[in-house]
């Protein structure tokens, strides 16, 4: 498994695509932060905003930009990892090696997520800049990092599974983005219903549980809670307690754990179904 990981990293280090990816990633994050600061600078000068408000705005926009890019990259990198082998007709060769199914899957997974984590931490200096404005606590920063890690693990696992069951990169990418957009939209809808119910009557049981799962699946809700811990506090008539005290400032950790669990289950499922897809393009199942 280690040799698979090392081979992947050697390839990436020599590829011009890696340089382009890192540059694009940092330029977008840096650019977004800079323009947000520029837009708020006049407010700072005119004292319409405080430094801590600007720091927080910088952090939020950096986080949103980072999350969007992480999502796209996680999916595209992982969705292409096995499908690319199929496109290059090297998948059969890979299967002829002595590597077991779980070694191949984990090797691919760890190499791509490792690279993704490296990209994730490239945002650290930008966050450090936001720190100098105040308004952001170390705890909030750590919470955001945990949320991004959980999301990356889950989306990467999903991408890898779709990469395995797809015949080529194009199909894998298409399926991945369709799945991601659907998942994002559904969780946004049910999470939104749950959020609006917080200021009214308690929702009916099915909506309640769909809302709970949406809160756990969609990192946007965790981010909302990190920046405003009382956002999910029950304000309607009566009181509703969410599982594991999720709406008591702990959504971020439960969300990350849930996503990690989902990632582990998806990886397990991928390992289990791997033998069926060894036959690559032509063979399909069997």
């Amino acid at each position: 498994m280690l040799s698979i990981i090392l081979k992947e990293y050697r390839q990436r280090a020599r590829g011009i695509a890696t340089l382009g990816l890192i540059m694009t990633y940092t330029i977008i994050l840096g650019g977004v932060s800079f323009f947000v600061y520029l837009a708020r600078y006049t407010e700072l000068q005119s004292r319409a905003s405080t430094s801590s408000q600007v720091g927080l705005a910088l952090c939020i926009t950096t986080f949103i930009a980072q999350m969007i890019m992480s999502l796209l990259l996680s999916l595209s990198l992982n969705a292409s990892t096995i499908a690319h082998e199929k496109d290059q007709d090297t998948f059969e060769l890979l299967n002829l090696t002595l590597f077991k199914s779980f070694e191949i899957i984990l090797g691919k997974y760890l190499s791509s997520t490792g690279f993704l984590f490296l990209l994730v931490i490239t945002a650290m200096p930008i966050y450090a800049l936001a720190f100098t404005f105040g308004g952001l606590t170390t705890l909030q920063f750590m919470q955001l990092a945990v949320v991004v890690v959980g999301m990356t693990l889950m989306v990467s696992a999903l991408g890898l599974m779709l990469s395995l069951i797809s015949d080529d990169v194009r199909t894998a990418l298409g399926r991945s983005f369709f799945f991601l957009i659907t998942l994002g939209a559904v969780t946004l809808i049910f999470g939104g219903i749950m959020k609006s119910a917080l200021s009214g009557q308690p929702p009916v049981v099915p909506i309640y549980w769909l809302g709970v799962v949406s809160f756990l699946m969609n990192p946007l809700f965790s981010a909302m809670e990190i920046f405003n811990p009382s956002v999910f506090t029950w304000a309607g008539n009566g009181s509703v307690v969410m599982p594991f005290l999720m709406n008591q400032g702990l959504l971020w950790i439960w969300s990350a754990l849930f996503q990690t669990l989902i990632a582990a289950l998806i990886l397990l499922a991928t390992v289990l179904i791997y033998p069926r897809y060894r036959a690559s393009k032509a063979g399909g199942v069997g």
Binding site: Y9, L118, M124, P125, T132
Partner: protein
């Protein structure tokens, strides 16, 4: 797939096993809660409003209630401790600053035995300029005629504007038993006038008396209704405030000038008037024959009136004339000004406080440079150098190193530009008045934390109120309120205990700044007296005070400046806290000042300009001379339990009464540029803002006050005369009124829509004939000239009329 389902199943079951809790807790058996909002259910915008909650715990099982009582408004929770053993009953008071019409408020009980939330619905609200008259009485409804009286008011809307302005106003009268009021002065913060009617003065204990005194010191009016109550007033804890030293009563049927002014006729009934000596500084406002009927005396920023009669006894009981009388007293019409807030606007203070070097914004050029350097180093340079060295795989080592290096560099940049010290900056403004040792103050605190901290802020002053959002200056280009609020905006909680000693627990992040603002009273032994006189006799109304004053303050004042009306200003340097001073003997110059390290003290001129701006309207009418000085010796009233660097400055504003000049020479003039004296029933004022487009934006061109006097109402003016006696015989007045149609055409015969009246020097109003077909009326000055060399005129409307602004020219 089956195995996967098996894994999901326990998770699903676990989730579903968790109960969906939805419970509305009911009060325990035998526990009842009642509440009252504001004064008689009405709250006022721009003021601090009380909410009294009475809980009766008669639980048969002996359950004690222990927890919190919470008032939630605009996301902030105002809390007070709830401890109520069984059986017992207690009244709790919560306060909130109302800044919008029909506020949504909820009341919560959080205790071990009972958790409940009550939505108090939409609450009836009155406007910032309206007046509140609180009557402490056993007979609710005794002052009904003073309710809903309309008038114009010069006041400072502290939540919207920087200085004072005029607006139309309505009075709201509410009634309380003496045992229903809080013994904290916050309860009376909203009251413009507090009337002590026929209460049981034995119930008026020391704490309530002190809160009444604090309220008057702060600017409220206190009215004693004496009559046969005089003896009980004199022996009560507030007896020392009464301008009349009671010695007995007299019965009379002659109400004299008082009766004529307010249309009160004793008829067959005899009025009982309290008699006695006037206290120092007291003056008679109105006479009932030869007896003083209304006596006034200043106390701090407020005024105390003694009505020699009891308004609940005949012939005053339920008389319609009481409406106008109490409106006059509340609005201080005699003095023509009602400025209830002399403080600098807090936003103005924070604008200066934010100049703390550590809290200044970073240059965008530096931010751009930082990002560009990072991108270049982590990308092209890194890959290029390693490529040339044929060590491309090392990028996996160099990238994390560059990330760590830049993160460290970024944080160190913050440390270099913003330091590593927590900074507390504090600016306190204290007003010192003659005759009282209670000084209203406001405190603006700016806390900058270089490290994340959790701290507790406690104001050791029960009468203080800690604000979550300090008032906002109207800054919108259309004159609307600006949306940028400051104040406390904690992420985790907006929970404030403002019940006894205001207290706040808060977390504050790295390099973050927060602003706090609170107000209250200091109780420091101070003595201020003045024998100042305005002796200027120039025709432009200049102000030249002469005479002297005495101070006995616990602090020496530095960098002092005297400020008076008509832009009078004089630098007088340092002034010792104790001593006698004459205007001639005061030194010139700025005096000594504080070290530059104290950044709050760098803005002396700005603080002084702020005083000028915030007091400009008050000084236009008041003849006070303000001595403004600075000290670092005042102890801060709030505790901050973290190590920090302090920048503190206290500004002390001493109000020195200055006697107006009685005789003036020179040409004739109208006092002031606008209407002189406004008041009276059925009087409304509208402010028209004229806007014009220019360069893509709108701005106000000028403001024009437009007055509407409803039929039966009147406008009242005072004209200061400065001509010689021989000139006065030839004077005539021209009344110019506008008809009610929008064209604003001048009517040819003012007499058809209005009457002109003048106040004769014997105290009676006489009609002044408007010449037929004209707008002119000749003034019989020999009859009208008052002892202070002025003439008082009224325009009494026959039909609804507008005046823009009323013009009376003297020839």
């Amino acid at each position: 797939m089956i195995r996967m389902r098996c894994l999901f199943l326990p998770l699903l079951l676990l989730c579903l096993a968790l109960p969906l809790q939805a419970a509305l807790a009911a009060p325990p058996e035998g526990v009842t809660l009642t509440y009252e909002l504001g004064y008689d259910g009405i709250v006022q915008q721009g003021r601090l409003n009380p909410v009294s909650v009475e809980i009766d715990n008669q639980n048969p099982a002996g359950i004690n209630l222990s927890g919190e009582l919470v008032l939630k408004y605009e996301g902030t929770e105002y809390t007070t401790r709830l401890e109520l053993p069984s059986p017992s009953k207690k009244r709790f008071y919560l306060y909130f600053p109302c800044n919008q019409g029909y506020p949504q408020i909820s009341l919560m009980v959080r205790s071990d035995a009972w958790t409940d939330e009550m939505d108090l619905g939409q609450v009836k609200t009155c406007n910032p300029a309206d007046t509140s008259i609180i009557v402490l009485t056993d007979q609710p409804g005794s002052l009904q005629s003073a309710n809903q009286v309309e008038s114009a008011r010069i006041t400072r809307d502290e939540w919207q504007t920087q200085s004072a302005g005029m607006s139309s106003s309505k009075s709201y009268v509410s009634y309380f038993d003496i045992d229903e009021v809080d013994d904290n002065a916050k309860f009376f913060e909203r009251a413009d006038t507090i009337v002590l009617a026929d209460i049981d003065y034995l119930q008026l204990d020391e704490p309530v008396a002190r809160s009444l005194m604090e309220s008057v010191s702060r600017g409220a009016n206190l009215i004693f209704s004496l009559g046969s109550n005089g003896n009980r007033v004199a022996s009560s804890p507030v007896g020392q405030l009464c301008p009349l030293q009671y010695s007995g009563t007299v019965e009379t049927a002659e109400l004299g000038e008082l009766g004529r002014r307010y249309g009160i006729n004793a008829g067959n009934a005899l009025a009982t008037l309290a008699t006695g000596q006037l206290r120092d500084g007291a003056e008679v406002v109105s006479w009932a024959g030869s007896y003083p009927a209304i006596i006034r005396r200043s106390w701090g920023a407020g005024t105390v009136y003694a009505l020699a009669f009891s308004f609940t006894d005949r012939p005053f009981r339920q008389h319609p004339g009481l409406g106008e009388m109490f409106s006059d007293l509340t609005m201080n019409v005699e003095r023509s000004v009602d400025v209830n807030n002399w403080f600098l606007h807090p936003q103005e203070i924070f604008n200066l406080m934010r100049n703390l070097d550590e809290a200044k914004p970073m240059d965008p050029g530096f931010v751009a440079l930082f990002i560009v350097l990072y991108v270049v180093l982590i990308g092209p340079l890194n890959f290029f150098v390693l490529g040339r060295l044929k060590r491309s795989t090392l990028v996996w080592l160099t990238i994390p190193l560059i990330i760590v290096g830049f993160s460290w560099f970024g944080l160190e940049t913050g440390r270099l530009t913003r330091g590593a010290d927590n900074v507390v900056a504090n600016f306190q403004e204290v007003h010192v008045y003659p005759d009282t040792t209670l000084q209203p103050y406001q405190d603006a605190m700016y806390i900058f934390t270089a490290e994340p901290v959790r701290y507790e802020l406690e104001v050791e002053d029960p009468s203080a109120f800690l604000y979550t959002d300090y008032p906002v200056v109207s800054g919108g280009q259309f004159g609307g309120p600006a949306m940028n609020r400051g104040g406390i905006n904690p992420f985790i909680t907006r929970s404030l205990d403002n019940s006894v000693n205001p207290k706040l627990n808060i977390s504050q992040g790295k390099w973050a700044a927060k602003e706090y603002y609170y107000r209250g009273f200091r109780n420091v032994p101070t003595v201020v007296s003045a024998s100042l006189r305005d002796t200027d006799n120039r025709s432009d109304g200049s102000f030249t005070p002469e005479g002297g004053f005495e101070l006995d303050l616990p602090w020496d004042l530095h960098g002092c400046r005297l400020i008076g009306r008509q832009n009078y200003a004089k630098e007088v340097g340092d002034i010792a806290g104790r001593g006698s001073y004459t205007m001639e003997g005061l030194s010139n110059g700025g005096g000594s000042w504080f070290p530059e390290e104290n950044y709050v003290s760098r803005y002396r001129d700005d603080w002084l300009d702020g005083v000028r701006s915030s007091t400009s309207e008050g000084l236009r009418y008041s003849n006070d001379l303000l001595l403004v000085g600075f000290t670092e010796e005042l102890e801060p009233l709030a505790e901050f339990d973290r190590k920090h660097i302090q920048h503190t400055l206290s500004m002390v504003v001493v109000h020195l009464p200055c006697e107006r000049q009685r005789t003036r020479g020179g040409s004739l003039r109208m006092a002031g540029s606008g209407p002189l004296l406004t008041g009276g029933r059925n009087f409304r004022l509208f402010e028209n803002r004229y806007m014009y487009p220019g360069m893509g934006s709108y701005s106000s061109e000028y403001d024009n006050n437009r007055y509407v006097v409803l039929a039966g109402g009147y406008l009242e003016f005072r004209v200061d005369l400065q001509g010689s006696l021989s000139e006065r015989n030839f004077m005539s007045a021209t009344l110019r009124v506008f008809s009610d149609d929008r064209d604003g055409m001048m009517i040819s015969d003012a007499g058809s829509v209005a009457e002109l009246e003048g106040l004769r020097n014997d105290g009676t109003w006489i009609p002044l004939a408007v010449q037929a077909g004209s707008r002119d009326a000749r003034l019989p000055l020999s009859d009208l000239l008052l002892p202070d060399n002025s003439v008082r005129l009224r325009v009494r409307a026959k039909a609804d009329l507008q005046a823009e602004p009323p013009e009376i020219s003297l020839n």
